[in-house]
């Protein structure tokens, strides 16, 4: 048996026999009253509780550990592997069976509880002991698989796959299944498949009123049209921007980079709000147009055009972030070869650069498409009578109709769309190779852009950057004037309400916004690295390891991205408010929600990055007898720095700006900035909302700067021309 397996076994016994199994109320690390009666009572260990007869259903779990302990002295063999697999598997099955069967009084699965010897019993939420035990059982199973030769016998690989599968199962599949199950249930809670069909084919979802008559189209069509438009436009804008920044000598590139990334770090509602102040019927621009050209003030901003504009402003930078990594990664040698062979700039661009951009473009489109579908803030503010699925789901849950079943059906439609896009993208990219970062020396110079491409890019980008700039002026000003759009007397009142600090008796954070700001930062700072690690690890496994169910795993990671935030929020409450995993009302549920919601971005950027890195680099490392982990750490990760940056930045920012997923999960103790801002907007206090948003923007900018500084730049060892490449080598701002 390998030493690592012994260690895992030790971990299991620690969780089973030493650390409290459950999670009693009032756990704290400074007062130990909750430990009373240890190792029995509320803070008892599984070992003591099982043997004393208080919780006999925990006994079989210990037997599984014992079975492995008996093998301690044996050397590694397929037979030992088989025992590990069976012990781990059966142990986990029994672990989850007792967890779900025996929960609160009067719930759970009675027949299973009776079978396990816990008929009529109740138990609380699982704690740290239970967690260590199940982790140990899982790892034993994975080690067993490695002993039997899975994944070239590499325990790091099998264990990583095991952990990721378990986490995704517990925090994506389980809650999603919980809520989708409610699609089959009528308002009174009875099982009714008929109502599911009626809900699914409702004309409010699929109606074609906008084509056949002068009414609104079904919400599914609206969503689809909006998402496709947003996906296409954001991808093109992002590409134009990336090409201009990396491949031309355009002036003002630094400013442009900063401005294009600003919308990402802007809390939702704010762009919509600014657009209303600019283009609304009494907006600044509408007023000027009326005064100068007698163009009548209208309400065009409310509906598809407004939402589209806001989404493009908000999501094009994401496409930019994805594509800048891809453009950077394209090997200049290929382009140089093309030019050496006599191709014109345009031919080189069309036949070499463009095809190499395809995976990046597909990823950027997919992100824009999915983002648009999941977006909640912009349709809420600017939607008018233009309804999309995400808002309809939200109001199906919280609106006057309170129809959770309808929400679940709408969520399923949304899921099908998102996953469909994912499937199409897979088909399009097929099995082609896009590898350009190889171990071979690569010292080419990036080709210059063809003139028409430069011209069109600049033509599109300049007005867009100007618009972004104006919007931020409005947002910045909004915090410092009394009422934006009406009374422009300068004031610091909004900042004082939110962020006053009292120094009279030491440091006291008096402002109303401090609590939520601190919680938000804590949650974001914890969840961002977790998201990045989990995401990149998953991407590595998907791209570089062969195992059965790889496609299923890839598909599943996209699932949580496709689930709209509102649905995820409700699903988390339904799933995690009761034992075995009882974590609602804690800061933890916020962290978990963010990690699993943002993980797909880590996976996507990891995949995009890895598809450019030649496999022979890892193979060389493996051939030199490095283990998977060493290869990942020393070879792959340094080359993945751009992907790591975008994963970290994205998840950090998203944890701060997301609304819909957390609006159900915030509690009195753990309130978040966005939930607070939404409240201010609802109360019509735009001044404070905008002031708070400005503060968040500054905070996020600092955070992103720190991430850049900490991760550093990928060194590709390419020759650089002066002075072009000095700016090309700048990190993403």
């Amino acid at each position: 048996m390998r030493p690592a397996t012994r260690l895992v076994l030790l971990l299991g016994w620690l969780g089973y026999a030493v650390i409290p199994w459950y999670l009693p109320d009032g756990v704290s690390l400074s007062q130990f009253g909750w430990l009373a009666g240890y190792p029995f009572g509320r803070a008892g260990t599984a070992f003591a509780l099982a043997l004393s007869g208080t919780a006999p259903w925990l006994l079989p779990v210990g037997v599984a550990l014992l079975a492995v302990t008996l093998l301690l002295g044996r050397s590694e063999s397929a037979a030992v592997g088989r025992t590990l697999i069976w012990a781990g598997l059966l142990g986990m099955v029994l672990f989850f069976a007792q967890g779900f069967a025996i929960t609160l009084q009067g719930q759970g699965i009675p027949w299973l509880a009776a079978l396990l010897g816990g008929s009529g019993a109740a138990q609380g939420g699982m704690g740290f002991g239970a967690f260590l035990t199940v982790l140990s059982l899982l790892l034993l199973l994975c080690h067993g698989l490695a002993y039997r030769g899975f994944c070239r016998g590499d325990i790091f690989t099998t264990s990583s796959i095991g952990i990721i599968v378990l986490l995704i199962g517990l925090f994506i599949f389980f809650p999603v299944a919980t809520i989708l199950q409610s699609a089959l249930v009528d308002q009174a809670g009875a099982f009714a498949p008929g109502i599911f069909v009626a809900r699914l084919f409702d004309s409010s979802i699929w109606g074609l009123g906008c084509v056949t008559a002068n009414t609104n189209c079904g919400v599914a069509w609206n969503t689809l049209i909006l998402a496709v438009l947003t996906g296409v436009i954001t991808t093109l804008l992002g590409l134009a921007c990336a090409l201009l920044v990396l491949r031309t000598r355009m002036p003002g590139k630094r400013l442009m980079r900063a401005l294009t990334v600003l919308p990402i770090i802007t809390p939702p509602f704010v762009i919509g709000l600014a657009l209303i102040l600019l283009f609304g019927r009494s907006g600044v621009v509408s007023g000027l147009l009326y005064d100068w050209f007698s163009i009548p003030r209208s309400r065009w901003i409310y509906g598809l055009p407004g939402v589209l504009l806001a989404q493009v402003l908000a999501f094009a930078p994401i496409a930019f972030l994805v594509l800048i990594g891809v453009v950077q990664g394209i090997s200049p040698s290929l382009e140089e070869a093309s030019q050496t062979l006599g191709a014109k700039r345009w031919a080189t661009f069309r036949t070499v650069t463009w095809p190499l951009l395809k995976p990046g473009l597909a990823n950027a489109f997919l992100l824009g498409f999915v983002e648009s579908m999941a977006d909640f803030g912009n349709p809420l503010v600017l939607g008018g009578n233009f309804e999309v699925l995400s808002t309809k789901i939200f109001f199906a849950v919280v609106g006057a109709a309170h129809n959770q079943g309808q929400a679940a059906v709408l969520a399923m439609v949304l899921l099908v769309f998102t996953l469909g896009a994912f499937w199409v993208q897979q088909r399009w990219l097929g099995g082609k190779s896009y590898t350009t970062v190889t171990g071979k020396g690569d010292s080419g110079l990036p080709a210059k852009l063809p003139k028409p491409v430069t011209f069109i890019s600049a033509l599109v980008i300049v007005p867009w950057v100007a618009l972004t700039f104006v919007i931020y002026v409005i947002i910045l000003m909004g915090g410092f004037v009394k009422t934006m759009g009406r009374d422009h007397t300068p004031t610091l009142e909004h900042y004082r309400t939110g962020f006053a600090v009292d120094f009279s008796r030491g440091l006291f954070f008096e402002g109303a916004a401090w609590d939520s700001l601190f919680t938000t930062l804590k949650v974001a700072a914890i969840s961002a690295p977790l998201t990045a690690v989990l995401g990149l690890l998953t991407a590595y496994l998907l791209m570089r390891q062969q195992f059965r169910g790889r496609h299923v795993l890839e598909f599943t990671t996209m699932l949580s991205f496709a689930i709209p935030g509102t649905v995820l929020g409700v699903a988390y409450i339904l799933a995690f408010n009761v034992p075995p995993v009882e974590i609602t009302g804690t800061g933890l549920i916020l962290i978990i929600a963010f990690v699993f919601r943002n993980m797909p971005v880590g996976v996507r950027s990891g995949i995009a990055g890895l598809s450019q890195i030649d496999k022979s680099l890892d193979e060389a490392s493996i051939t030199l007898r490095a283990r998977s982990f060493t290869t990942l750490w020393r070879v792959v990760l340094p080359l993945l720095r751009p992907a790591l940056v975008s994963a970290l930045v994205y998840s950090f920012v998203r944890s701060i700006t997301s609304v819909s997923a957390v609006i159900f999960l915030v509690s009195a103790e753990y309130n978040l900035a966005t939930a607070y801002i939404v409240g201010r907007v609802e109360a019509g206090e735009f001044g404070l909302a905008i002031a708070y948003s400005s503060v968040l923007i500054v905070v996020m900018a600092i955070g992103i700067g720190l991430i850049q500084l900490g991760v550093g730049e990928r060194k590709l060892g390419r020759r650089s021309a002066i002075p072009l490449a000095t700016s090309a080598a700048q990190p993403v701002k």
């Binding site: 740290f128 967690f131 260590l132 986490l167 609602t584 609006i663």
Partner: protein, 346 residues
């Protein structure tokens, strides 16, 4: 070597995911978990005042009434909250109907207005009225003048063709305010004529908003000429000095009863009851006006804020909360509205 590396990865992984099981919700003694359904400032004033008066630590979360209802339903097998204070009465009634809240009779009940007690009776003692707000509309004075219209005073005035695409009201499917309008019109004019009115109004409605109070904000900014809202929502902007005027329609109008319920399964039941009794006292109800909330308080001895719409001077209908608060009637009316009004071409 390999063991060491494995240790490092294992510990990292354990920390990463293990945190998931580590922290427990704080359930300190002498605490109260309050779900608050009115605007933030008022919520905060209530919770800090109660803390100061009783020494009980209040953990307050502010959400819309619909969100709170959805949360209670989701948490029903293991409730987290103790008291649900504020928010329009319908979701409170629905929660009562589904047994999510607890029966309680406060000693302060004898001092309450009849409408507050009728909510209590309608909810089978599970919910009580804490404030009332009349339905009406707010109009932007500048816009109405520009259009050369007289100031609208009645429901009928909103059908003026000059107001085409210049009226906003929320969608009754998403907003309690708009459902209140639907029920009010049906009770005021009778079902057939009421729906006729709504069909005609549909031609003038530029947008059915999601949130009930949004039309007031839109009218104050001039994004719409008229917004149909609870009058107190429009008064907030008028007090700020925006060009908006609140109107109680001449034909008569309905009203909402903001309510309070004790959550069934409350972990701090005694404190919830203490809060319940305290929140009905004139002292507690006086906290509304300084927090820019101008509803009419439910205790007869409470002072009515001067900015509050005078309910006594308005023509109020006898709103049947039992009938129109029930799930069956609500679903029927909403389905009918979807089919006959919202589906109409403009």
């Amino acid at each position: 070597m390999q063991g060491f590396q494995w240790l490092r990865t294992g510990v990292l992984a354990a920390l990463a995911s293990g945190a998931a099981f580590a922290a427990a919700p704080a359930q300190a003694q002498g605490a109260l978990v309050m779900y608050c359904g009115v605007q933030e400032e008022w919520c905060r004033a209530m919770s800090t005042a109660f803390e100061r008066d009783t020494g009980i630590k209040v953990a307050m979360t502010r959400k819309s009434a619909g969100e709170i209802y959805a949360q209670l339903k989701a948490e029903s097998s293991n409730p987290r909250g103790d008291i649900w204070w504020g928010g329009t009465g319908d979701p409170h009634l629905q929660a009562a109907e589904e047994g999510l809240t607890l029966e309680y009779e406060s000693p302060v009940n004898k001092d309450l207005h009849d409408w507050a007690l009728s909510q209590w009776k309608a909810a089978q003692k599970r919910s009580v009225g804490i404030y009332a707000g009349a339905l009406g509309f707010g109009f932007n004075t500048q816009q109405i003048k520009q259009k050369g219209l007289n100031e609208p005073k009645c429901w009928a005035d909103l059908l003026d063709p000059k107001l085409k695409d210049d009226v906003q009201v929320a969608d009754p499917n998403s907003s309690g305010t708009a459902y209140n309008l639907l029920a009010t019109v049906v009770q005021l004019m009778g079902e057939e004529k009421g729906f006729d009115y709504l069909k005609k109004l549909h031609k003038n409605v530029s947008q059915y908003t999601k949130s009930g109070a949004a039309p007031a904000k839109a009218a104050s900014l001039g994004e719409t000429a008229v917004g149909i809202v609870f009058i107190h929502d429009a008064v907030v902007f008028a007090v700020q000095g925006d060009p908006i005027k609140a109107v109680a329609p001449c034909e008569g109008t309905g009203y909402e009863i903001g309510s309070m319920s004790i959550i069934k399964g409350a972990r701090n039941l005694d404190n919830a009851k203490k809060f319940y009794d305290w929140a009905l006292t004139p002292a507690a109800q006086a906290l509304a006006a300084p927090a820019k909330s101008y509803q009419v308080p439910s205790n007869k001895n409470s002072t009515v804020p001067p900015q509050a719409p005078k309910m006594s001077e308005m023509k109020m209908i006898d709103y049947d909360f039992v009938k129109y608060g029930s799930s069956a009637e609500r679903t029927r009316l909403l389905t009918k509205w979807d089919k006959e009004v919202k589906a109409l071409p403009k």
